[in-house]
């Protein structure tokens, strides 16, 4: 995307400018579902960070819930069912 930021390490003195930061923040904003529709100039950087943290936490929660669901499904799964055949064929 932005070629301004090279992929060299940020070690030692990194002179990253405010513009680059703003660029990265707006890139982050586009990822967050809540903030995606709003105009970037109306959303402050701290709001973006806050919403990002909330979003990450909600994703972790979803992983928890799905793990539980998968755990129950694994327990109830018959070894010779159609679903198991699908899984097996996926892995071949």
């Amino acid at each position: 995307m932005s070629s301004r930021r090279s992929h060299s390490r940020q070690s030692g003195s990194s002179r990253i400018t405010e513009d680059q930061i703003a660029d990265l923040v707006s890139k982050l904003q586009r990822l967050i579902p809540e903030l995606r529709n709003r105009h970037s100039d109306k959303v402050s950087a701290s709001k973006v960070l806050q919403e990002t943290c909330n979003y990450i936490r909600s994703l972790h929660k979803e992983v928890d819930d799905l793990s539980e669901r998968l755990s129950e499904l694994l327990a109830s799964l018959e070894t010779d069912s159609d679903q198991a055949a699908i899984i097996r064929s996926l892995l071949m």
Partner: protein
């Protein structure tokens, strides 16, 4: 980095039923989504094999066993994603390290908060335990508006390895981390939807 939008690759994907959708999304062999899904499924099969449900009981396993299995699955999800990303990203490296140490921790450091289960540690949650304390490099000039921003500190705790990143790196890693988490959730949901309940 190849993006993992399966709907882009296959426009008819939304009209397919879940098992076919999962397979259709694996049309590109090298996509992150595919690499993650395969690793995760293999681990699920392993988990399934090592904890077979007793044939006679009506409730297949005790709550304890279910909880343990849930933790294993959750751990497998994060581990599979971190490995699928590989060493390309700082967050995935940090996450793999954290997972690796969280297994050994129960044996070597009993003084650290032991889990009630005594089995493998839980998969890393948001904050997770910091295993390596690295001095943070503040890459910004004094007086910068980012200095006292608590949102940054919180983000550092949420993103694996975030404690030692400069702000610019942190924001980039966060973006990638969020996209990968979304992929992880999406694949897990697809797998869960394969099985009618």
């Amino acid at each position: 980095m190849p993006s993992s939008s399966s709907s882009f690759l296959n426009p008819h994907i939304s009209s397919m039923n879940p098992p076919v959708r999962l397979m259709a999304s694996c049309t590109t062999p090298c996509s992150l989504r595919t690499r993650f899904a395969l690793r995760f499924l293999k681990t699920l099969v392993k988990i399934k094999r090592s904890s077979p449900p007793p044939p006679s009981s009506s409730s297949n396993s005790s709550p304890e066993k279910t909880r343990r299995r849930t933790q294993r699955i959750k751990r497998a999800a994060y581990s599979s994603m971190a490995r699928a990303v590989g060493r390309r990203r700082a967050w995935s490296q940090a996450l793999m390290l954290k997972l690796k140490f969280s297994v050994k921790r129960t044996n070597q450091h009993p003084s650290l908060s032991p889990t009630k289960m005594g089995g493998p540690q839980k998969a890393p949650r948001k904050a997770g335990g910091r295993i390596l304390v690295i001095k943070r490099k503040n890459s910004l000039v004094k007086g910068s508006p980012w200095r006292g921003c608590s949102g940054v500190d919180e983000l550092r705790r949420l993103v694996p390895g975030g404690e030692s990143m400069g702000l610019g790196v942190l924001l980039e890693e966060t973006a990638h981390f969020v996209r990968c988490l979304e992929t992880q959730v999406s694949v897990m949901r697809s797998i869960a939807d394969c099985f009618p309940c």
